[in-house]
């Protein structure tokens, strides 16, 4: 049982809110949903869509749809080839013209007076979406009461009257469908039914990261808006009083990361979030964190680059940037969660690691993971906060006879770190190379010893905290899809397709991207059969990193860099083609979507 529903219109029509409501209605029926928004970088106009794939256990969107709600003409054009055979289209002929047969004779064209039903029932134009939700639910055979529940809770704050009106309008769409399209409903074979009553969350990657950070003891969050990281800021800002967190919007990203470094120096857990452009501005401070050994956590939500590029689309092309940003050689930890639980868990973990190793930690997501909604079980609050070797006022007093050695050379490279307020801990931290007591050093041996001390932390990281990439599926698979971060669910779904067609495919997913345990990785790679690297970038950055650190070369590379993430069926289809060619085809395959439309212009590309 699986159903893919999509709604499209222009920015400002409330596409996102409608999609989210629908996601919740599905999730409450014991189903699993992925809510995937697409939108260009503008505030009004353009083509905005929200797609929901719903089933028993789904982890990524697919390209095609069973039922598409077209609120404007571009949605028709953009989706002419994107509806499954015998699928259906809901539209309102008073606003959108569709020629019979435009989608093919097999499709049901359902003209529903969305605008009229909204206004006749006392709503305004924007509520045509609610009519469409009701009509959609009727057509797919789902339970309208679940939608009513969600509407009631969403609008509860606005009073019973608003709730009643929304419910009435959703009902109007639902009933219109039942009365006018009975025959079409009966011959429409795709259905989705409620499974059970369920209480699961519907959450995006950024919200999961924000919650994970809060649960991990985040107390100060400083940031500058940049898509697709901004919703972390928005969520924390909205919750700052409840969670007792200071959310500080700064004048730029330099200040954002600097405030976080200052707060961490003073002993308060602090983090920032940004995308590539802002991370570029933070680069110098990344080194400041490393040299001064002041913890800092950066949530880096990637979008296509270089420069401003495609602000609202996705790419995984900042891995090497995250690994190498800032001058000099220093250690940092780079993590890339792959699903909502991992976003939550690793956001908290990042704060722990930053404190424990006194260095910068970067958590990589991307537009796809950060802004896509998934149903998932409630998070487990069991987050243990570990501050490492931080010294606070309530601990054993420090001796007062000598200048405190903030950068004491230790076996594990980590030195105890008193925070301001601790008597006897007075010292200077900073950007200059130093002696153990923090004073500037231009002695070669001291310089080298300090480089070694900072680098030495890698041993404990690998021994105590590193996590090997996880292998999902049969150990003896004939082929392994290798991916990182956001592409976990996508690769798992691709493997599922391939396995259902008789292949034996598993998935190797990396969260811990740096540092890497070369020895154990080499062992693991030797056990794999044929390997296909799946990366949302042009140069297969993880393959480069694995070659450098573990001498590994994948057999094939599947790459996509057109602004969208992979769709599972694209991976499956390319793997099948490779197999058909008896694995003798090209080693590097670029997957590009040839849809001839432009989301910004919301029209056909004619250039």
């Amino acid at each position: 049982m699986e159903f893919i529903w999509k709604i499209g219109g222009e920015a400002g029509m409330g596409i996102m809110a409608s999609g989210l409501t629908m996601c919740k209605a599905f999730t409450r029926g014991g189903l699993s949903a992925v809510g995937y928004p697409e939108y260009p970088s503008l505030v009004r106009g353009g083509e905005n869509t929200f797609q929901i794939r719903v089933g028993e256990d789904v982890h990524a969107p697919l390209k095609k749809n069973h039922l598409v709600v077209c609120l404007n003409r571009p949605t028709v054009d953009f989706h002419r080839e994107q509806v499954y055979e015998n699928g259906a289209i809901i539209y309102d002929s008073s606003a959108t013209k569709i020629e019979p047969g435009e989608f093919g004779a097999d499709k049901a064209l359902l003209d529903v007076p969305l605008l009229r039903l909204a206004t006749d029932n006392g709503g305004d134009v924007i509520m045509r979406n609610t009519v469409a939700l009701g009509a959609s639910i009727a057509f797919m055979g789902y339970d309208i009461s679940l939608l009513e529940q969600v509407l009631a809770e969403t609008f509860a704050r606005k009073g019973q009257q608003v709730v009643d009106q929304n419910v009435k309008i959703a009902r109007a769409g639902h009933d219109y469908m039942l009365h006018n399209y009975k025959a079409q409903m009966e011959s429409f074979k795709f259905k989705i039914r409620k499974k059970s009553d369920s209480r699961k969350m519907v959450i995006s990657g950024n919200e999961a990261i924000a919650l994970g950070a809060a649960a991990g003891g985040l107390k100060l969050f400083s940031a500058y808006p940049m898509t697709p990281s901004s919703s972390i800021m928005h969520y924390i800002a909205q919750k700052e009083l409840d969670f007792d967190i200071i959310m500080k919007q700064t004048e730029d990203e330099i200040a954002a990361v600097q405030y976080a470094i200052g707060a961490n120096f003073a002993g308060v857990r602090a983090a920032t979030a940004t995308s590539g452009g802002g991370f570029s501005l933070m680069a110098e401070s990344l080194g400041l964190s490393a040299l001064s050994e002041t913890p800092v956590t950066i949530f880096l939500a990637q979008r296509p680059g270089p420069s401003t590029c495609l602000p609202t689309w996705t790419e995984q092309a900042d891995l090497k940037f995250a690994l190498n940003a800032s001058q000099g050689e220093f250690l940092r930890i780079v993590l890339a969660p792959g699903d909502m639980h991992e976003c939550f868990h690793y956001a908290a973990r990042a704060l722990n690691l930053a404190d424990k190793y006194q260095l910068p930690v970067i958590l990589l997501s991307d537009k796809y993971l950060s802004e896509t909604f998934f149903s998932c079980a409630k998070f487990d609050m069991g987050v243990k906060i570990e501050r490492g070797k931080m010294i606070t006022k309530d601990m054993k007093p420090l001796p007062l006879n000598a200048r405190y050695k903030r950068y004491l050379i230790t076996k594990d490279g980590i030195s105890p770190r008193p925070i301001p307020g601790v008597i006897g801990g007075e010292h200077v931290s900073g950007s200059y190379e130093h002696f153990e007591n923090g004073y500037s050093a231009e002695t070669f041996s001291v310089r080298a010893a300090m480089v070694d001390k900072r680098m030495r932390k890698i041993n404990s990281i690998l021994k105590e905290d590193f996590e090997m990439p996880k292998l999902y599926g049969a150990e003896d698979a004939e082929l392994t899809l290798i991916c990182w971060g956001s592409h976990k669910g996508i690769a798992l779904e691709a493997a599922k397709i391939l396995n259902s067609e008789g292949m034996k495919v598993n998935v190797l997913h990396f969260v811990f991207l740096f540092p890497l345990d070369a020895k154990n990785l080499k062992k693991l790679f030797r056990k794999l059969n044929r390997t296909v690297m799946v990366e949302n970038n042009r140069t297969s950055q993880l393959a480069g990193v694995l070659k450098e650190y573990a001498g590994f070369r994948p057999d094939f590379k599947l790459l996509k860099y057109d602004g969208r993430q992979f769709f599972p069926e694209e991976i499956a289809s390319e793997v099948k083609k490779l197999k058909e060619k008896n694995w003798k085809g090209k080693k590097e395959i670029h997957v590009i979507d040839n849809l001839p439309y432009d989301y910004l212009q919301a029209g056909k590309v004619e250039r």
């Binding site: 919650l211 969670f243 500080k248 976080a260 707060a263 200077v428």
Partner: protein, 289 residues
């Protein structure tokens, strides 16, 4: 309370003999000592430049940040623990050049910091290029044919940007410096003290004697620091008098709630002591259902 001696580290200052930084730091330590501010509860954040080493010579907590970024780290420290006395220091290039965005926004934000700018009208540490406060026409290593840009007016900008404590002192007058530092440290809000000082090595124009002949004290001229219009006028006097009269002292002072005062989260005490709101966070999970 810490004595000047206790506030002095054993590190040998690397400033040129005769540099204004010596007097400046003596005055600052004097101010801290007289105000009885404990050294372990003081954080001095410096930028990069000759002033950058300031955090090494004072026996408080110190943080040597990046060039232009002392106010930013200092702001993070203060928001994290507003029980601390937080001082930011930097040069004129540091604060008015590379860090100018932070400088500008600090005034409207009004976080309770004392910001001391070592204003020697030159880039000292990098051996003598023009700075934002170098005079028009001034010859430096980077402007050998004369500086084509107008001098930056930090005081006027500070007042216009919403500054609540705007002062200028001359590094040649220790007693006055200490007095103004004390007022700045006691001011609730962001306090700017621009310190006019020669660079004995690279600034051949604005020497000790040059300043000495021109500076006068606003206190003795009957200036009312609550009068914003008068403060603005005084801020322009240096230029309008064609450098014949340079006022020093507190130009402008205003009581306005600080950023911390207006943050409801901080009403119960410094952020550092706050617990994780686990129950609230768990409750928030429900809102996603």
């Amino acid at each position: 309370m810490s004595s000047i001696q206790e506030l002095t580290t054993k590190e040998k200052p690397q400033w040129c003999p005769g540099c204004g930084n010596f007097g400046l730091h003596m005055a600052l330590k004097g101010a801290l000592s007289e105000l009885g501010i404990p050294k372990e509860k003081t954080v001095l954040v410096s930028g990069v430049g000759c002033s950058g080493k300031a955090s090494h010579y004072i026996n408080t907590y110190g943080f040597e940040s990046l060039h232009g970024r002392s106010v930013t780290v200092a702001s993070g420290v203060k928001l994290a623990n507003h029980g601390l006395t937080v001082i930011a220091e930097g040069g004129d290039g540091d604060g008015y050049g590379i860090g100018s965005a932070h400088f500008l926004h600090s005034f409207r934000r009004n976080i309770d910091l004392t910001y001391i700018v070592h204003d020697n009208s030159i880039y000292g540490l990098t051996t003598g290029q023009a700075s934002p406060t170098s005079q028009h026409g001034m010859k430096t290593k980077s402007t050998p044919h004369g500086n084509l840009e107008m001098q930056f007016n930090p005081l006027a900008v500070a007042i216009a940007a919403g500054g609540t404590f705007v002062a200028r002192v001359f590094a040649g007058d220790m007693a006055h410096m200490k007095e103004v530092f004390k007022q700045a440290l006691q001011h609730k809000g962001f306090a700017l003290v621009d310190v006019l000082q020669p660079c004995v090595t690279f600034n051949k124009l604005n020497t000790f004697a040059w300043w000495q002949q021109r500076v006068y004290k606003l206190e003795s001229a009957g200036h009312d620091p609550k009068n914003k219009a008068a403060a603005m006028e005084k801020a322009f006097e240096e230029m309008s008098s064609n450098y014949s009269k340079i006022p020093t002292g507190v130009f402008y002072k205003e009581e306005r709630p600080t950023y911390v005062d207006e943050s409801p989260q901080l009403a119960s005490g410094p952020l550092i002591g706050h617990a994780v709101k686990s129950a609230e966070i768990e409750k928030a999970f429900e809102e996603f259902m």
